[in-house]
């Protein structure tokens, strides 16, 4: 990789061991992908729940945090993805002292490194959406696909170590979605319906993600009639990224880089058609035993509007199985203030903040609580939880709430 004078100085240790180590890591990754040079980034977002970090990852962070020479903190706004627990509800979740101690140690290390603990995977709705053409180093695949596709910002998937490295150096290797040529469509998908509910948007994202199949594929979608809302594209993108490892999509006439098909596509692209039957089949494929042990709304964290809708559906109901709704620490105070939390919890539900269900020791929760058959309106969540010993089922928010009342998903 070509390094400018400042990068040569960072690599030579002029600014201390931390940015030096960070740049070495970035060069290793950049050269693997053939990056020509670095690009400055305006913000970074770190996925670092302690289930992923483990003891080894937390020790690694603590070693970085005890560095005493040179630059000791991040250079640019650097924020965090959900944590591994909601400390206020840790007992309810069955989280152990060991888990909580590890979480506290990670937080201390991050704060020492100058990281801002936002604990959210919906920073584009709650903290600060990136500007068009802004280069960023975002973790959480849902954040990246939304930022690339809907905000026209430029980010690759940056795992925790790489996002932290970008925070420390203020730059990232220029490859992948930082380059204009990588952002052009590689496949064309015609959709003959416009989804309505969030689970339908997620299911459509899942189906298209499976077709796209890998990180470097960029679907361009035609046939969506009404302008999608932020929450709809949140579920659509998060599911596409989860099922396909996809980092960018275009919807002709709706997303900013694809006012018309020719803006992002040239020549003959592979063509696919997705019907409503395909998303119904995807949802049916997860239905087994319709009894449910728990209902979870999470992945991504819920917006204030989603919680408003949920509160309206929960009003006056009485749950027979637990119902969890997970949001960000920024949204939770408003959820409380508007009375949504009270309405959900009076029905027997629990509103959690600062975590996300699958990033919070989901396997251990299943064992501690005896939860296996799980209903959700998140296509991303059903995709992940199969590997965690759950039997996840995908349905609408209304059907999930009904299941929390009756114990059966109908």
């Amino acid at each position: 990789m070509k390094l400018n004078d400042e990068e040569q100085d960072i690599l030579g240790g002029k600014f201390g061991a931390l940015p030096q180590l960070a740049l070495q890591h970035q060069i290793q990754v950049g050269e693997f992908f053939g990056a020509a040079d670095f690009v400055p980034v305006a913000q970074a977002h770190i996925m670092a729940d302690t289930e992923s970090l483990g003891e080894a990852g937390v020790r690694w962070l603590e070693r970085l945090a005890t560095t005493t020479d040179g630059q000791r903190q991040v250079r640019i706004p650097t924020i965090t993805d959900p944590r591994g627990t909601d400390f206020a509800k840790a007992d309810f979740l069955g989280h152990t002292k060991t888990m909580l101690d590890l979480e506290r140690r990670a937080i201390v290390a991050f704060v020492t490194l100058g990281v801002t603990m936002t604990d959210t995977c919906i920073n584009y709705q709650t903290i600060q959406a990136p500007m068009p053409n802004e280069h960023a180093a975002f973790g959480d695949t849902g954040v990246v696909i939304f930022s690339n596709s809907v905000c026209a910002a430029r980010s690759n998937f940056e795992g925790g170590p790489s996002a932290l490295a970008a925070g420390l150096t203020g730059r990232t290797p220029r490859y992948g979605f930082h380059l204009a040529e990588q952002r052009r469509a590689t496949l064309h998908v015609h959709v003959d319906f416009t989804p309505g509910t969030l689970n339908e948007w997620g299911a459509l994202g899942a189906v298209i993600g499976r077709i796209a199949g890998n990180y470097w594929a960029v679907p361009v979608i035609e046939g969506i009639v009404d302008t999608p809302r932020s929450d709809q594209l949140k579920h659509f993108g998060a599911a596409m990224a989860s099922f396909g490892s996809t980092a960018m999509f275009h919807i002709v006439g709706h997303t900013p880089e694809a006012r018309q098909l020719s803006d992002v596509a040239s020549g003959d692209l592979p063509r696919h058609r997705v019907t409503r039957a395909a998303i119904e089949e995807l949802q049916r494929s997860y239905l087994g035993d319709k009894r449910v042990d728990v209902v979870v709304f999470s992945a991504p964290q819920l917006s204030l509007y989603e919680l408003r809708d949920l509160a309206q559906i929960c009003a006056g109901r009485r749950f027979t199985v637990p119902l969890l709704a997970v949001t960000s620490p920024q949204v939770k105070p408003d959820c409380d203030r508007m009375g949504y939390t009270a309405r959900i919890e009076e029905a027997g539900g629990t509103v959690l903040a600062g975590m996300c269900f699958y990033q919070s020791y989901a396997r251990e929760i299943a064992e501690a609580k005896g939860w296996h058959r799980l209903a959700t309106n998140s296509a991303k969540l059903v995709n992940i939880l199969g590997g965690y010993g759950y039997r996840p089922m995908l349905a609408s928010m209304e059907a999930c709430v009904d299941a929390a009342v009756s114990g059966t998903l109908t």
């Binding site: 990754v29 992908f33 080894a56 690694w60 973790g139 959480d140 998937f157 490892s245 699958y358 199969g386």
Partner: protein
């Protein structure tokens, strides 16, 4: 004696030799594995029930989220980790995770590498030359 060689466009890490564990399927450390036991647990995965410890994983592509970037490091710290990763294509997360976790990796071949390598074959991963070899 080496019988067949396959050149990779992307390479990282040390030279290692070991038995290949092969499937035309994806890979995510969070979605697919019981990392404590060192086995594939995702029911729909073609390697479900099989141990990846000490094996050279030969798979199609990276799937899922960003957690693999931390998890390979954590798996390496306990020694419950694949010996190397060989993929038709990878995403940045897998490359970042392999770099932090010191897991050798090759990716990007001119053919479907999962069809070219027999399951259980002895193979050598040579990132310095960017070559995967089947050993006799």
């Amino acid at each position: 004696m080496t019988t067949r060689k396959f050149r990779a466009r992307h390479a990282m890490g040390r030279i290692v030799r070991g038995p290949a564990l092969v499937a035309h399927d994806g890979f995510s450390a969070r979605y697919d594995l019981d990392r404590a036991a060192g086995i594939f647990t995702r029911p729909a995965h073609k390697l479900v029930g099989q141990s990846y410890v000490g094996r050279i994983l030969v798979l199609d592509t990276a799937k899922g989220g960003v957690a693999t970037a931390w998890m390979l490091h954590e798996m390496t710290s306990r020694g419950i980790v694949p010996l190397a990763l060989v993929f038709n294509s990878v995403n940045p997360i897998l490359a970042q995770g392999a770099a932090l976790g010191d897991v050798p990796m090759l990716a990007g071949f001119d053919l479907d590498i999962t069809a070219a390598i027999p399951d259980g074959a002895g193979v050598e991963v040579n990132p310095q030359r960017g070559v995967l070899s089947i050993l006799d």
